[in-house]
Symmetry: C2
Subunit: 217 residues, 2 copies
Amino acid sequence: MLSYTEENYLKAIYHLSEGGEKAVSTNELADAMNTKPASVTDMIKKLSVKKLIAYEKYYGVTITKQGKADALAIIRKHRLWETFLVEKLKFNWDQVHDVAEQLEHIQSPLLIEKLDEFLGHPVADPHGHAIPDKNGKIHVAQQIPLGEINANKTATVSAVKRGSPSFLQYLSKIGVYIGAHVAILEKTEFDGSVEILIDKKKKAFISKEAALNILVS
Amino acid sequence: MLSYTEENYLKAIYHLSEGGEKAVSTNELADAMNTKPASVTDMIKKLSVKKLIAYEKYYGVTITKQGKADALAIIRKHRLWETFLVEKLKFNWDQVHDVAEQLEHIQSPLLIEKLDEFLGHPVADPHGHAIPDKNGKIHVAQQIPLGEINANKTATVSAVKRGSPSFLQYLSKIGVYIGAHVAILEKTEFDGSVEILIDKKKKAFISKEAALNILVS
DNA sequence: ATTATTTTTTAGACTAGCCTAAATTTAATA
DNA sequence: TATTAAATTTAGGCTAGTCTAAAAAATAAT
């Protein structure tokens, strides 16, 4: 059984390591957790004793198989709750993160099973992020940044990369949502910005920054 | 802002004081919280500084107006979540308490507002307990123990008093549920047990113990 | 009314999770 | 390669919430 804090550290390590692909440094983690490096070192030792991460002094941490499984279970809960909040309670997609951060720590396998059932076994959350299944398996969808699509091509918005509330609100305002149809009208070479047509109706100018955070397929 | 633990103490004090009607002793509280009296004394001081309870050494604690309001907000959340679990996720009524104990601590006024809306503003939880409204107001229903009804009278089950999982399971088994129609067929004087007819179909013999924990109107 | 018992409080100590300040190791640069 | 800078760890300390053991107050019983 993991504490609330341990769960949050593990989740951060999973995300920062890009699903276990690379090592995570102490400073990186301290930054993500809004704590001091010294505190991180303490927690790292705890999680290491529990075999959820592998720790090498002065090098960094890597997540273990068990750690990854635990992290994915938490992420599954987080994304199911986000889906619930949007689909059932009619939250906007920019309002759900903080609440889901709390809900993801509720301990009840039955609850998650029934919630999943209630939602109809969704495969992605309101931001288009894949929901790991009961066994931690992720159905990886082919997604590329909108900014890398060529002019005169069309695509469908399938996810947002980093979804800060303000970015999500901005997307809503210009008419971008998961499932939206987009046509790339023009790409400006020098700054990477793009002009797009959303659902064959709304035109919008999007910065490179934004275009790289919108994923399409 | 109250901590998880402070919220649980406050709720226990509210319940043990029967809604603020009487003082609560240190031992009583220690018992309810599964801690030692010394720990209770510590917490009592904290809540007292926050003006949520009034504390008199060696006497006990009474809940303040603010404390009562905070306790009722937590109870409201608990009961709304229980309702959600049963109504929407199809939990049995004996499975919801522990999960709701966790969910009641989620901090998000918007969530509760939307949950309440989603559930259609329920006035009672799956055990028949009144759900305080947004302002902490409780709609008190006239309820009396089944054991106090005379023979040859009928009534409708409106709540269960102390709902331990095993008691709730027992009630389900004999066919008693909130809203069930019961007719008192016979009362045994010497032990207080009663024979009832549920929904004009099922007969059951119920001990005095059980009959006092079933509330009807 | 005095002693015995129970209840409650105080004192001191423990763990989790955090901190600051100082020491150590690694990486970067002259 | 020697030195400086950055990253990391260690040492020691803090708070919340818990504990045990002992002291103090209230209650009960002789």
